[in-house]
C-alpha cells in the first residue's frame, strides 16, 4: 500500500496554550480512519492544520510526497486533499444543484478555460449522478438554506468530493444530527466513498459509528495522539478508555460482548 499522507512533529501553539503537539501519523491509500477524542483534544486543530486552514507552529505534512505546510487551501485541494466542515460550508441562497454545479465548474476548469460556460449538458449529467450517489437528488431545486441539517451535511460532503480526492477529511459529519438520522447518513457517505475508493479520515464522537465504519482509530487527548491502532484494539486501550471513552463505556462494551 502506498503512503499518501505523512505527518511529523506537527504542533500548534496559541500563545502559551498548546493546542497540538508531537503529532505524527502515516496514512496509506484505501484506509478509513476515525479520529476520536474529547472536546478540545485537538482533533479539529489537527484537521485544520493538515488542510491548510490553520498554519502549524512546527512540523511537516507531506501529501503524495509534497510538503503542503504553508500552501493555501486551494492548492491543497487541487493536489487531491479535500475536506468538509463541522458547520456545512455551502452557498446558502443557491439550490443544491447550483452548489454542486459550481463545485464541478471549479474542479473541471482552470486558467482561461474558466471562461467556458458553467452549464453544459454533460456537466449537468455529472452533477445529477453525483447528487444521486449522495441521495440528495430529490432536493435538487431546494435552496441550501431550506435544507435540514443532515441533508446540508450531505451537500457539504458531496461538494468536497467532486474532485474525487485522494484523501478526504470530514470534520464531525454527524454532529448536530438526530440519533435516528445519523446512521443512515454515515451509511450513505461511506457507500459513496467506497464507490470511489476514497481514503477517508473523519472525526466522530459516536463509538458505534466508529466501530461500524473504520478500521483504524486515532485517539486524541490534550493535543496529542494517545493511541493509533486498529479499531478493536483501540477500543480497549487503557489510555483511550481513561481519556476518551470513560470507564462506563468500557463496561458497556464488555457486557455487550
Amino acid at each position: 500500500m502506498t503512503t499518501i499522507l505523512e505527518v511529523n512533529g506537527l504542533e500548534k501553539r496559541f500563545g502559551g496554550v498548546v493546542a497540538a503537539q508531537n503529532i505524527g501519523v502515516t496514512v496509506s491509500a484505501g484506509e478509513t480512519i476515525g479520529i476520536i477524542g474529547a472536546n478540545g483534544a485537538g482533533k479539529t486543530t489537527f484537521v485544520n492544520m493538515v488542510t491548510g486552514h490553520l498554519p502549524p507552529s512546527a512540523g511537516t505534512v507531506k501529501f503524495l510526497g509534497t510538503n503542503i505546510v504553508g500552501l493555501p487551501p486551494r492548492r491543497i485541494t487541487e493536489l487531491g486533499l479535500c475536506r468538509s466542515f463541522q458547520v456545512p460550508q455551502v452557498f446558502l441562497s443557491e439550490s443544491v444543484f447550483d452548489n454542486v454545479l459550481m463545485a464541478y465548474g471549479i474542479a473541471e476548469e482552470s486558467g482561461f478555460s474558466m471562461l467556458r460556460p458553467l452549464r453544459n449538458k454533460e456537466r449537468d449529467a455529472r452533477v445529477r449522478k453525483h447528487l444521486a450517489s449522495y441521495q440528495i437528488a430529490e432536493h435538487e431545486e431546494t435552496a441550501a438554506s431550506a435544507l435540514s441539517q443532515g441533508i446540508r451535511k450531505l451537500l457539504d460532503i458531496a461538494m468536497a468530493t467532486v474532485r474525487k480526492p485522494q484523501l478526504l477529511m470530514l470534520d464531525e459529519p454527524t454532529s448536530g444530527i438526530s440519533v435516528e438520522e445519523k446512521f443512515d447518513l454515515m451509511d450513505i457517505i461511506m457507500a459513496a466513498l467506497r464507490e470511489e475508493q476514497t481514503t477517508v479520515m473523519f472525526i466522530e464522537h459516536d463509538m458505534e459509528i466508529v466501530q461500524r465504519h473504520v478500521a483504524r482509530v486515532l485517539a486524541f487527548s490534550q493535543g496529542e495522539i494517545i493511541c493509533d491502532a486498529p479499531t478493536a484494539k483501540a477500543m480497549v486501550d487503557p489510555k483511550v478508555v481513561e481519556f476518551v471513552l470513560g470507564q462506563e463505556y468500557h463496561v458497556g462494551i464488555r457486557s455487550d460482548a
Binding site: 487551501p73 486551494r74 452557498f91 459550481m102 465548474g105 471549479i106
Partner: protein, 316 residues
Amino acid sequence: MSADKTIIGVTIAVVLLACANFFIADWIRQIGLLSMAIGSVALGLLVLWRTGLISFGHALFYGFSAYGVALLNYLGVRDAFVLVIVSAAASGLLAWGLGFLVRRYRAIFFALLTMAFSMILYGVLAKTERFGSTDGLNVHPPTFLGYAPVDQAAQITLFLFGLLVIYGLILGVQIYLRSVLGQMTTAVRENEIRVEYLGYSVEHVIHIKYVISGLLAGFGGAIMALAVGQVDPESMAYWTASGEFVFVAILAGTGNVAAPFIGAVAFEVIRHFAWEHGANLWQLIMGGTLLAIIMFVPDGIWSVLQRLVGKKDGVK
C-alpha cells in the same frame, strides 16, 4: 436558452438604434451617446455588484480613460478606435495594478478604497497645469479609420461607433457572466471558505472582476470624452461622478447586461428635462427618484420591465 435571448434582444436593439440614428434629432442622439458612456460604467458596477461588491470610486477609471483620450490627442492620435481602445486599456491596467490591494478588502472598505484613489486622481488633474487644471482639456473630433466627418455627420458616425463598442462590451460581458469565472458571484458573496476549498482563489476572482469593471468604466470615460469634446476634473474624476454611476446602477438593477444602458438612458433623460426647469430641481428629482427606487423597486428598472413582459424569472 435564456442567455441567447439577451444577445438576440441586444442585437435587434443595436440594429434598430443604428437605423434610427439617421432620423433622430441631434439632442436625442447626444443623450444616446451620453447614455452609452454612463451605461458602460454602470455595467462595470454590475459585474462587481452581483458579487455583493460596490465601488464608490469608479470615476477613477472613467476619468483616467477620458484624460487618456485628451492626452493621446496631444500626441497627434485622432482615430476613435485607437483612442478608445488604448485609453480603456490604460484604465484596465490601472485597475489591475490597484486590484492587488483592493482585492483584499470587502464591503465598505472595498467601496471606499477606489474612491480614495479617485480623489488622488482628481487632485492631480485639478492641480496640474499641463492637464488644464480645473478647466480641463479639449478633445478634437475624432477620425474613424481615416474617415473624417464634420458637423452632423461627425455625430452620426460617433453614435454608430459608440453602438459598435457597446455591442462588443455587452457580448463580452454576457459571455463572461455565463462562464465558470463569471458565475462565481453568489458563491464568493456567501462563502469564501468553500470557494477556496473547492480549489479557487477568491482574491483572484475579485481581482478579475475589478479589472473587467475598470476596463468597462474606461470605455465609458473614453466615449464620454469624444461625445462632449472636452474633459475636466469636476465632471470626470470628482466623487460626485462616482455617485452618479452608483445611482444609475441602482436605477437599472443587476438583472441583465442591457439594464445599465436602459438605466443610463432614464438617468440622462431625467437630467435633461430637470435642467430645463431650473438648476436646483435636478438634485431634488434625483433624490426623489433614488428614494422611490429603493423603496418600491429595489431591483431597478429591469425588474419592472420583467414584470411588464410577465416573466418572473426572466433572462439571466
